[in-house]
Symmetry: C2
Subunit: 79 residues, 2 copies
Amino acid sequence: MKVLIDVTLKEGIMDPQGNAVKDGLIKLGYDVNNVRIGKHIEIELKDLEINKAEKLVKEMCEKFLVNPVIETYTFRFEV
Amino acid sequence: MKVLIDVTLKEGIMDPQGNAVKDGLIKLGYDVNNVRIGKHIEIELKDLEINKAEKLVKEMCEKFLVNPVIETYTFRFEV
């Protein structure tokens, strides 16, 4: 099974990369209000029951993949 | 409306960052088969009909946000 994790900066945390992309889009003529850039992580796991897999993914995020001071995350499974 | 875009490296394109994260997870004792890392981009747009918004997002991806030689993308709306 595969898990797709999106890691985003918390609201209020500066995002210079997002601002640069916003400026680029505006210069190209696109009417965008805000851009935020985060990480998209795809992990192939061995097959597990969904509640065990959820627990495992949360643990990996909280121990290693996400900096909880400045980042937040969501995930979904693709079976 | 907000669009969430996931930009991933195409299959076959080397992903050293993904490999480093895979090694880190394995060292922590997690049984993962593969890890790929991409970008997660959130853009706030003014409200549009869904088909117009889809066309706009595809255009932004293909002109600016995605390198079509090595990357591919998916997107979804959050209204």
